[in-house]
Amino acid sequence: MIRLENVTKNFPGGVQALKDVTVEIEDGDFVVIVGMSGAGKSTMLRCINRLVEPTSGLIYIDGVDITKVRGNDLRKVRAKIGMIFQTFNLVKRSSVLKNVLSGRLGRTPTWRALLGLFPESDIELAIECLDKVEIRDKALVRADQLSGGQQQRVSIARALCQEPDIILADEPVASLDPPTSHVVMRDLKRINRELGITTLVNLHFIDLATEYADRIIGLREGELVFDGPASEVDEKTFAEIYGRPIREDDLRGGVVEDSSTDELAGSGAYSD
């Protein structure tokens, strides 16, 4: 369970990215965080794994206050939280497999990591994770040879390889085209259902939010302005969260039918 209590983040220069945010997220939830750019979504996500340090407030993960944790303990906390980035953040020159294996670095002794001597169980796990996102045939390909959608799936595999309790996804589909966006969101949802991993996703596409979220959290200018089940949300609610009427570029568009997507994904036939 994740709990944020009165979390505030001030950046130098006077920007208040988060203002007194309090929210509780249950294990296994699939939560989508929405809001305009700059509303504080990214900051909130990064506070949870402390890539950003909250200025004040407490954050509990499974009852432990992680704002005070340092050094090795911080690394242990991060090892259990997988993160997916908008820019994928893969090591371009390394193979897909090596990228996925790097998810184990939170638990691998340094000497093994430096020599590249991951235990066999790690390698098996990495290949299984590649299987889960249906990209195992690209295991030994260099990461920059893949399309955007494939790269994002590799980064999901990397997160899975951590065997995480929580997955944080920061605008995972902003760099992808509509059909691929849906594939990635579907993968995240499926992983959440099958493995019970608590998943928080930042999106600024409201149609994707309503389609995939169980629960929606709305941020505006650093403040929590909405928290409720996705079924209760309509266009008016979004307009309130955004503080302005909804525009066309707030929508992703491009719904793809389930079965045909499976086929296409497996053969890599469409370009992302």
Binding site: E120, I123, I127, R136, L140
Partner: protein, 258 residues
């Protein structure tokens, strides 16, 4: 464990063994290299040298200054000479100007010039014009033509052909085209490289004195052979300070250029 998993693990393990073996070979090779380094041991220890080097001989600073100035002067004149003389070579060595064969020929020539160590050139020039900074200037200048020529040629090869076309289209001849379209693109980079070469030449100039070509090299090598470590320390301090200052100024100038 699936087939794919076994296959991948096998490939990875094999790769590691191969790399490990290669590494072992290289390590053995290097151990042989190191243990075969002959040397004639001296009766001095590093500690005793360092101890007698401090405190440095501050009274010597005045003459060190003069010597350093001379080295710097040598570097200035030598670099300027090379910077100017290298310009035609830079163009000749660019394949956009002289085509593949011509540029290859010039590049080989420049390469030979680059490979000729400044110290050797200095020795030859000392024979020709006598001891003193003039020989040093010539040595630095001649050697730098090689490096600058090569760097210049890369700049020329990389220019934007559009302005050249534009000026040509107005009916200008080659000289005018070069002046108006090529030179403005190329000069800032030329000067930047020349400044970079200057930084290196200042360092080289301090050493040319070893063979009598002027500058601070002569007092330096003399003091080393007389084991006047405090004077040596003084010279070193002046050199390090001067070079650092010149690097800083030159670096600032270069950032303003490009």
């Amino acid at each position: 464990m699936s087939d794919l998993q076994a296959q991948i693990i096998g490939k990875l393990r094999g790769g590691i063994y191969k790399r490990g073996f290669l590494l072992a070979l290289i390590v053995v090779f290097y151990v042989l290299l190191i243990t075969n380094l002959e040397y004639v041991p001296t009766r001095l220890s590093a500690m005793s040298i360092i101890k007698s080097a401090f405190p440095p001989d501050w009274s010597y600073a005045g003459s060190v200054f003069k010597g350093m100035m001379e080295s710097i002067n040598m570097a200035v004149v030598g670099t300027v000479m090379a910077a100017v003389l290298a310009i035609p070579f830079g163009f000749l060595a660019a394949f956009t100007v002289t085509g593949k064969k011509g540029s290859q020929l010039t590049k080989t020539l420049l390469n030979a010039d680059r490979s000729f160590p400044e110290l050797l050139l200095a020795i030859i020039f000392v024979r020709a014009v006598g001891l003193g900074p003039f020989a040093g200037v010539l040595a630095l200048g001649l050697h730098s033509i090689g490096t600058l020529g090569k760097l210049y040629s890369e700049v020329v090869e990389a220019i934007d052909p559009n302005p050249v076309e534009g000026v040509r289209a107005t009916g200008a001849n080659s000289v005018a085209t070069t002046w108006f379209a090529v030179l403005p693109q190329v000069l800032p980079e030329f000067v930047s490289y020349a400044l970079y070469r200057f930084e290196i030449n200042v360092r080289a100039a301090t050493v040319l004195g070893f063979v009598g070509a002027g500058g601070i090299g002569k007092p330096l090598i003399l003091n080393i052979s007389y084991r006047n470590w405090d004077k040596v320390a003084m010279i070193m301090i002046v050199i390090v300070v001067a070079v650092t200052l010149i690097d800083a100024i030159s670096g600032w100038l270069r950032s303003k250029l490009v």
